[in-house]
C-alpha cells in the first residue's frame, strides 16, 4: 500500500522510526503541535491536508492520521475520495501508552498528569502557554505576558497569567513517555526540570509502540477506526472514542 500519513510533530520520533520500517510506502506530512491551541484551527488544517492529499495522490490507498480525538479537534473531519484511519484514542498519550485501557488506568489513578514526549520537549510547544512565576518563562509566555501588560495594564496581566496558569497547581505528576528511541537523556531531564519547577513528581513511563506500529503498518484492527469516502469522523461518547457517520 501507499499510505499518506499526517502526524503531529510531538510524535515524530516513533512515527519516523516505524514509518521507515513499515512494509508499506509511507509518505509523511508533519503539522505543528501549536495548532492544538485552537481546536477549530487544528481541524481546518488537518482537513486542508486531507483535501490536498486526495487531490495530489488519488491513488493513495489510505490517509493515516497520527492523532487522537485531541479535545474534539478531529471530530468533523471528512473523507471525500480516500479513506482515512486513526487510532481510537482521546489523545496521543494513549498512542504512546499502547492501549486505551492503559491510558484509562493511568488517568483514573492520577488525573492530574502532564504528559511529556521527546519531540514535545524539544520543540518547546507543550509549555509555551503557561510557564509561570520564575526566571525560566519560555519566550512564548514572556511575549504573551508583555502583550497583556500593554493591552490591559500590569495588574490585569499578572492576574491573567495567574488565572490562566492555575491549572498547574491542580496537577501532581509530570510523566515522560519513554520510547527508547531518543539518542540521549536531554529531553527526559528537561521534562524532569519542568515538573520539579511546578512541584509535580516526575515519572518516566515506558511507551508501548504497538499502536504506532499497527497504524503505520496497515494492521487496522478494533483499536483503529477507518473513515470511508463519504463519511465523517464523530465522537462516540463511549469506550470506542470515535465513530464514522455519513458526511452529509
Amino acid at each position: 500500500m501507499r499510505l499518506q500519513a499526517i502526524t503531529c510533530d510531538m510524535l515524530l520520533r516513533p512515527v519516523e522510526h516505524l514509518a521507515a520500517r513499515s512494509p508499506h510506502e509511507v509518505v509523511l506530512c508533519e503539522l505543528s503541535a501549536s495548532l492544538h491551541v485552537e481546536t477549530a484551527s487544528l481541524r481546518e488544517r488537518i482537513q486542508a491536508e486531507i483535501d490536498r492529499i486526495e487531490g495530489a495522490d488519488p491513488e493513495a490507498d489510505a490517509i493515516v492520521l497520527v492523532y487522537g480525538l485531541c479535545g474534539g479537534a478531529t471530530a468533523g473531519l471528512v473523507a471525500r475520495t480516500r479513506p482515512f484511519v486513526l487510532p481510537r484514542a482521546h489523545d496521543c498519550a494513549t498512542i504512546f501508552l499502547g492501549s486505551r485501557e492503559r491510558y484509562q488506568r493511568e488517568h483514573e489513578a492520577v488525573p492530574g498528569t502532564y504528559w511529556f514526549t521527546e519531540d514535545q520537549v524539544k520543540r518547546g510547544n507543550a509549555l509555551k502557554g503557561w510557564l509561570l512565576g520564575d526566571a525560566e518563562r519560555s519566550e512564548g509566555v514572556e511575549a504573551t505576558y508583555r502583550a497583556y501588560v500593554e493591552k490591559y495594564g500590569q495588574e490585569n496581566a499578572d492576574y491573567l497569567m495567574e488565572a490562566l496558569g492555575e491549572w498547574q497547581s491542580h496537577y501532581e505528576r509530570g510523566a515522560y513517555l519513554e520510547t527508547g528511541l531518543a539518542p540521549d537523556d536531554a529531553a527526559a531531564r528537561r521534562a524532569q526540570q519542568e515538573s520539579e519547577l511546578r512541584g509535580w513528581r516526575f515519572e518516566r513511563l515506558a511507551s508501548d509502540l504497538s499502536l504506532f506500529e499497527r497504524l503505520l503498518w496497515g494492521e487496522w484492527d478494533d483499536d483503529f477506526l477507518v473513515v470511508r469516502p463519504g463519511e465523517r469522523l464523530a465522537m462516540s461518547f463511549d469506550a470506542d472514542v470515535v465513530r464514522a457517520v455519513p458526511a452529509s
Binding site: T39, G71, H90, D91, L160, H170, M235, F237, D238
Partner: protein, 237 residues
C-alpha cells in the same frame, strides 16, 4: 458625584480600580445597592454580547468579571443586610477526573453578577458531591464543566442522579466546556447546554425560569431556545 456610566465602562474594560472606587462613591452618596448592581449586570451583558460577536475573547471576559466581582464584594454585605438574597442557587463544579476550572470559574463569576448564589465545588467532582451540595443548599441548578473528552462521560452519572432525586423535582443540570458539544448534552439528557461562558448565563437563567413554570418552554435549552423565548416575549408585548 458617582457616575454609574463610569462604573459600567470600568467593568466593560476590566478596570478593577475604577469599578471599586465608583462603587464606593456611589454607596457613599446613598445610591441603592440594587441600582449599582443593575449597572454592573448590564455591563456584563455588554461584555457577553461582545464575546458572542467575537469582538473580545476569554482574557477580556476574565478581567471584566474580576472587576465586577471586586465591586460586587462591596455591595454584598449591604444587600444581605437589607434582606436581599439572590433568587437562584447554582452548584458548580468540574466533573470527576478533570482538574481544569477556568471556564467554570468564569461562568461562576458571571452568574454571580446575574443574581445567582454560587456554591463552587472546585475540580474533580463526583456525582455524589454535586448531589450532596444541591441538597444542602437547596439548589435550583447544577452546572458541570469538562475540558477533557476523557472525562465528559462522567457527566452522565450526575444527570442520572438528578433524575433519580425525587425529593428535588425542581433541580436541573446544565453542561459545558470546550469539548462538550450540544449533541453530547442532548445525548446525556442534560437540561441545558451553552458553548461559552457568556451564553451560559442566559441558558442558566432560562433553565431555572422554565423549572419554575415561568416560560412556555419545556425540554432542552440552548442559546437558540433562549433567543426564541426572548423573541416570543418581545412579540407578546
Amino acid at each position: 458625584m458617582a457616575d454609574l456610566k463610569r462604573l459600567q465602562v470600568a467593568v466593560e474594560v476590566g478596570d478593577r480600580e475604577t469599578a471599586v472606587s465608583v462603587t464606593e462613591e456611589a454607596l457613599h452618596e446613598g445610591i441603592p445597592p440594587l441600582v449599582i448592581l443593575d449597572s454592573m449586570t448590564d455591563a456584563m451583558g455588554v461584555v457577553g454580547d461582545r464575546f458572542a460577536r467575537q469582538e473580545i475573547y476569554v482574557p477580556e471576559m476574565l478581567i471584566s468579571a474580576r472587576a465586577m466581582k471586586a465591586a460586587l464584594a462591596l455591595l454584598e454585605p449591604l444587600l444581605i443586610g437589607s434582606g436581599h438574597r439572590p433568587d437562584k442557587i447554582a452548584v458548580m463544579g468540574t466533573i470527576k477526573g478533570d482538574l481544569h476550572d477556568i471556564g467554570k470559574n468564569l461562568v461562576a463569576m458571571m452568574l454571580k453578577g446575574a443574581n445567582f448564589e454560587i456554591v463552587d465545588l472546585g475540580t474533580n467532582t463526583p456525582a455524589d458531591e454535586f448531589m450532596a451540595a444541591a441538597r444542602e443548599h437547596r439548589a435550583d441548578l447544577i452546572g458541570i464543566s469538562a475540558l477533557l473528552t476523557t472525562t465528559m462521560g462522567n457527566m452522565r452519572s450526575v444527570v442520572e442522579a438528578v433524575r433519580a432525586a425525587t425529593d428535588l423535582p425542581h433541580l436541573r443540570v446544565i453542561v459545558g466546556g470546550a469539548p462538550v458539544t450540544r449533541d453530547f448534552a442532548v445525548r446525556i439528557e442534560a437540561d441545558g447546554w451553552a458553548p461559552d461562558a457568556a451564553s451560559a448565563v442566559d441558558v442558566a437563567k432560562a433553565v431555572v425560569e422554565t423549572a419554575r413554570g415561568r416560560t412556555a418552554h419545556s425540554g432542552f435549552i440552548d442559546p437558540d431556545v433562549v433567543a426564541a423565548l426572548r423573541a416570543a416575549a418581545v412579540a407578546a408585548v
